[in-house]
Amino acid sequence: MTTTTPSAPATAADERLARVGVVTQILKRPDTGAFIGAVAVFVLFAITAKVDWTGDFGIWSSWLNTAAYDGIVAVPVALLMIGGEFDLSAGVMIGSSGLLLGILTTQEGWNVWPAVVVCLLFGLAIGFLNGYTVVKTRLPSFIVTLGTFFMLRGINAGLTIKITGGVSINNIDQAGGFDFAHDLFASSVWPKYGLQVTVLWWLGLTLIAAWVLARTRFGNWIFSSGGDPVAARNVGVPVARTKIQLFMLTSTVAALWGVMTAISLRGMQSNEGVGREFEFIIAAVVGGCLLTGGYGSVIGAAFGAMIIGMAQIGIIDSGWDSNWVYFFEGVVLVAAVMLNTAIRRRAEKAR
């Protein structure tokens, strides 16, 4: 960058000035590393799998469906991480919401749809609780949402036992309104290959979130709330409100996924979702989101979820011991972060 006096010609004067190449521009994107990673993992399993990984779209459906299960909640988790915060209660929220739907429909005889609304409101409420506590107490969100995680976990088991006598809810499909809910949340869009509608939900949510991040005011506020909340507040960005809204979004999407899971399984048991919060975080980090906030991509998080989905199915399709899935996820996480950092550093030097 150079400083010139007003009278000098604007361009061509400085020999260090170079057009910023298209390739460099692509490399500078936070999601490039994740995309490369996804392609690499795909190629790996295309080689080792005992079934037709490339040609059989049924196999594609297999890992796309699996990717969607992490991908849907990974979207708001990524946004929240860019905004500088974590939500460790996103996983257990899935179970809480599904159990709530189950209790309302099977114990109280509600129609599915008002129950869905209540579950989403529940998500909004818990999200607000998380966000408000983080903002007011200034405690790390890691700690606050860890507390919520344990509370919800206890409630999932304890309250359900109290109300129903057991810890799993069944026969949600007996409730009114179930069929339409099933069509909307749990049906197959391509029955021949088994591609589920959850994949459309996942991709749709990702695209909307990516647009919000890149092309709206709110997106700018998300970046700045994570990048430097003090600077942001000083120029008038409503940082606290933005963070609270992000927490509410995360819990509500997790609640929605809980509803979708319960409809798909026609029941819910209280262990669902526990431990998944880290997979969402892995997807986001692999996707290029910095743990410290202020930078990242939801499209990258989608690629991250794809990598996780491919790993889980690919390992079974290759006949390997499933215990290696965890090892694989750990390796992918570290490799992805190193790759992302290396690419970004290179792209930044290239001028």
């Binding site: 799993s168 069944n170 088994g194 048991q269 889980q312 079974i316 399709d317 011991d321 499933s322």
Partner: protein
């Protein structure tokens, strides 16, 4: 007066003699008996420490423990319960806490015998009676204060499952192991392999119950890669009901343990059979055995386990079991 008095004396004498006889006859439980006899007048403290989680299986177990506690509360029995959610170190911590609290009897499940060896040896050294429940048959027989095993032998239960699949005419079986570090599950799979006449393979999906939709996808993927598999054995009721949507049509499905979903699937024929280990008994009986031993030196089993299973629930008896399951006790 003298007649009654004599009668009373002789009855008392009988009881004392009977007690001594029992004490003499049960060499296995012997040395601790004297100490326990001394504790008879104080309350009976029982610690139930298991690796259980909050799923449908263990909630029925817990109901058994709670009911026993309620039934015997008036007789001075107090029960503490720890469910370690498959975390062995948590279970060890629970055992150590029970030892520190100087309980009379510890009833514990054994997902991992070597991990629990130290705390249980310590408990035995302090004179605490030990009952194993649910898993761990034969693991701690050598401890001085070992009483009895209450449960279903995984091996025998697995064999039962294998036989059921034989009767159904299956040729290729896959067993889904849903917890990576549970020896009981591996024993069940091994048992099935022993009796099943066709080929048996295992599929391990760690923590399958925390992502059931994902588990469904993985089961489908397995069936696509192993096309001639025609039988599926689940070791957990929630996995079984989820698997119903993932296995190809015509696959013969069997499972361990009951849940309302499993029972209705058995009634409708979607699941062939369920192996019921009656975990309600596994929760209820140890408390009763503990009470009887501490207050009356009664022993049980004579070195053999008190078997609570395998009970086979199939289409023939499913309806009756269903009514009981609604109460949460089966």
């Amino acid at each position: 007066m003298t007649e009654l008095g004599e009668q009373r004396i002789s009855r008392r004498g009988l009881i004392v003699k009977g007690g001594l006889l029992t004490a003499g006859a049960t060499v296995l439980g012997g040395p601790a008996a004297a100490a326990a006899f001394g504790k008879a007048t104080a309350g009976v403290k029982v610690a139930v420490v298991t690796h259980g989680d909050t799923g449908s299986f263990w909630s029925v177990f817990k109901k058994g423990v709670d009911q026993a506690h309620n039934d015997l509360k008036a007789r001075g029995v107090s029960v503490s319960q720890v469910y370690a959610n498959n975390d062995v170190s948590k279970q060890v911590a629970g055992l150590n806490a029970a030892i520190a609290a100087k309980v009379n009897v510890i009833a514990t499940s054994v997902p991992d015998a070597s991990a629990l060896k130290d705390p249980l040896t310590k408990a035995a050294a302090r004179g605490i009676e030990i009952i194993t429940v649910n898993s761990g048959l034969g693991a701690f027989d050598s401890l001085k204060t070992y009483m009895v095993h209450v449960g279903q032998t995984e091996d025998v239960a697995g064999q039962g499952a294998g036989k059921q699949f034989n009767a159904a005419g299956a040729k290729n079986l896959v067993v889904l192991i849903h917890e990576a570090s549970n020896s009981g599950l591996t024993q069940r799979a091994a048992g099935a392999k022993k009796t099943f006449k066709g080929t048996t393979k295992t599929l391990v999906i760690p923590n399958a119950t925390s992502d059931l939709p994902g588990t469904q996808q993985k089961i489908s993927a397995y069936f696509k890669t192993n096309k001639n598999t025609d039988a599926f054995l689940a070791l957990n009721p929630d996995v079984a009901t989820a698997a119903l949507n993932a296995v190809p049509k015509g696959t013969k499905v069997g499972t361990f343990d009951l849940s309302p979903g499993v029972i209705s699937a058995v009634q409708s024929g979607k699941i062939l059979f369920a192996i019921d280990q009656q975990q309600y008994l596994q929760g209820y009986l140890p408390v009763v055995f503990a009470y009887l031993f501490v207050t009356n030196l009664n022993t049980v089993g004579n070195g053999a386990p008190v078997l609570t299973g395998p009970g086979i629930v199939n289409r023939a008896n499913a309806a009756r079991v269903a009514a009981l399951a609604k109460k949460g006790t089966r």
